[in-house]
Assembly symmetry: C2
Homo-oligomer: 448 residues x 2
């Protein structure tokens, strides 16, 4: 087999926004290096966008305003889907796969919600749907979990997988600025959308976590079972108290397998300043993975942006080119199961959030009265919740009649903590709602 004589692999790109455009540019810019790696050329043979894109129409490549023209083009070997959203992306993938084409997609929402169906269709049609770019942008975390750590039973993973959220929390921490204020800056910089809900309420992170959990544990995608909590309720006070206790607040996606089942949860989390993850700042992403053999490993990089995301899209294309086109004309899937496991475990229960065990940070605005601490700690004791640390300071002014009490607890089951919080909020001395943030040790060799 002389690789120099092989025909190019032909790529069709549907959607020419940030990621699609970046993919096109990267395939052009690194064309030589890519061919030197692969031993054959990658050739973009069809572009499609529902909106006019003058800059691409001049490229001398067939251009369609109907994205379905790409998946119906007999020339196309691999379809790149970068239009995003559910419709018509879902139908596009179904038709591409039915037409015997491999697909590379950056569409995390589509995979998290409809991946089970789409992967089944791909399997039936002997093609691959690759989605490295759907999680953590340019970080090859899907490959690491699915192949690099394949010898391990994965015990848990914890990731900063939404750059917007991390940008906001980092600025709150480093510049002592309020959430709403930083959000506005993030919007001005283009890091956050006009409607920031997807990012700051954790939905985007939940899509990604759902995917990571599936390939970590070999379970079907179950987005609806992923607990999702955003960062919009975090205050500067929380960030400051956390630092005082030796912690940083990060918006984490956490997946854990225990004897009782699988946890999938996205929420603000206090982590020790000693963890490497605590030093991942700004828009950067990182995923910490604990395997039963390798211990803790961490993967860090840009989680978004045209170039970083395109890096993963093109890596997927190259994997398919290498594994599925051994000789001109031959097409098979890559042999790698879409969700990393040949056999998925469909019986593993997903634990509801009130069944998880974790430690807690509580911030209580209490009445500035003698005996308040005794009452609060008494309630926690009644629920058998141990206290690890307390901050109670003189209020800056006695005028409000309030004093903040900050408590770090030992590990406890969440439903028990919910009952304790209910009891605390029923105290006459605790007039408002209690702020509660989970605390994770992420205990591993990764600290020292």
């Amino acid at each position: 087999m002389n690789s120099d004589k092989q025909r190019p692999i032909r790529i069709g790109i549907c959607g020419l926004g940030t990621v699609g455009g970046g993919t096109y540019r990267l395939l052009s810019e690194n064309r030589e290096e890519i061919a030197r790696r692969l031993g054959r050329e990658l050739e973009v043979c069809h572009l499609a966008s529902r909106t006019p894109k003058v800059q691409f129409r001049d490229a001398g490549i067939p251009f369609s305003s109907d994205i379905f023209a790409v998946v119906d083009d007999p020339q196309v070997d691999i379809v790149v889907e970068t239009i995003g959203g559910f419709d018509p992306a879902r139908e596009l993938l179904r038709r591409a796969v039915a037409n015997g084409k491999h697909v590379v997609t950056a569409n995390k929402a589509l995979i998290a919600l409809h991946g089970n169906e789409l992967f089944e269709l791909a399997k039936q049609n002997g093609v691959t749907i690759a989605y490295e770019s759907a999680v953590a942008g340019g970080i090859p975390i899907i490959k690491a979990l699915r192949e690099g750590l394949a010898a391990n039973a994965i015990q848990w993973l914890a990731g900063i997988i939404n750059g917007t959220g991390n940008f906001i929390l980092t600025a709150m921490d480093q510049k002592q600025r309020a959430f709403a204020d930083v959000l506005k800056e993030a919007q001005a910089l283009g890091y956050a959308e006009a409607d920031p809900t997807f990012d700051v309420e954790g939905i985007d992170a939940a899509h990604k976590l759902t995917i990571l959990a599936s390939i970590a544990f070999g379970i079907p995608l179950q987005f609806d079972s992923t607990y999702t909590e955003g960062i919009s309720a975090i205050t500067i006070d929380d960030v400051k108290y956390a630092r005082e206790l030796g912690y940083v607040i990060k918006h984490l996606g956490i997946a854990r397998r225990s004897e009782r089942g699988v946890e999938m949860r996205v929420h603000p989390t206090l982590i020790s300043e000693k963890r490497l993850l605590a030093h991942v700042n700004g828009v950067m992403n990182a995923v910490l993975v604990k395997g039963n053999s390798v211990g803790a490993t961490l993967y860090y990089g840009a989680g978004a942006g045209a170039e970083a995301t395109a890096s993963s899209v093109v890596a997927d294309i190259m994997d398919i080119a290498r594994n599925s086109f051994h000789e001109a004309g031959e097409k098979t899937n890559t042999g790698l199961p879409s969700l990393a496991f040949n056999q998925l475990n469909v019986d593993l229960p997903i634990l509801p959030i009130d069944e998880i065990d974790t430690a807690y940070y509580l911030r209580i605005e209490a009445e500035d009265k003698v005996g308040v601490m005794a009452k609060i700690t008494g309630v926690l004791q009644n629920f058998e919740i141990n206290i690890e640390a307390v901050i109670q300071k003189e209020p800056e002014s006695h005028a409000t009649g309030k004093v903040p009490v900050v408590i770090l607890t030992d590990t406890v089951r969440e439903k028990q903590m919910n009952q304790a919080i209910q009891a605390l909020e029923a105290l006459q001395e605790v007039p408002g709602r209690i702020a509660r943030i989970r605390v994770e040790e992420l205990d591993s060799e990764e600290s020292q």
Copy 2:
């Protein structure tokens, strides 16, 4: 193709020390999870060790004291080489490959020095030699560079790739202890050998860096061209002054591609405390990689130890099982070139160390006299070396008649710095040798 009916892939392990024993245990411990991933069984069918290993003789698996019996065993599909060293490992690999067997090896020295020859033999025989475990233990860095970042032209990489060295530097920094003192502790803990030369003088790191540079840039393995400098000359004073300037001293392997050629160098390096790499402590490893599309990504984990290294050995076995045994009996190589590139660039020059451009930390024990600073800075000015920062303090005692002068310079070509140092050491006011440590910005999105 019903995967359940496929025969197991049969593994022979040569060498049952730390890594070989760990591999055997891991294949047994995670047997079910591995089979669930692969859709077929991995079966250890032959063990060999030149020293008696009673614990393995009871395993009910054929055991040979002649390691060559494994590579000549027609039952064996994949040979695991974990004996280490050059002889007879080199001959073992040659014979395994000639016998049409795939090989998984953890032998960094063998690959760095004889990889070119062995990979050529493997190619001729249509088999794969996999070596993920040879670099950075359990971190899937070979896979990340070769596949995950395949779309990128790699610009540079910088790694903490020797755990012993990092353990020593971390202890010097955190506990203010002298090199020799910490080395003794490392030896007592089993982190360092009785003869620590390989680790502390950078030879082990140079083996690994040679491999990383080859797969990053697609060049033949060139161990002899890798500049190697150890950490035994680093003093507590250097560590303290570095901190004062906002830096940490790490023993890095650095590979960089510039217009003039490729740099491959292992040496102590000052890096900013703001870099994530500066927070990688103890025996842990990490590699920071800069690609022209993805930007900076970082990979972190345990660089040594039975379990972590076995994790990579078994991942390699699984890759081969997946890619090379599509159907019972069929054997092909994985399709991935051994050094990541289908075509290696054999013409790219490797720059000698005096041709590199870098910044420097200088520690000068100068005479405690008026006008010394002016003389020193005057010499640097003569060589057009800009000064970024200076620390000159009152000496703790004037009895020695010496005062330490610490200087951080701007970037300069190394041969120019060597001339400047020569001129400085020729000054009457500088009676001893000047300590010189390179400083790297590692500028990337990875800081903020």
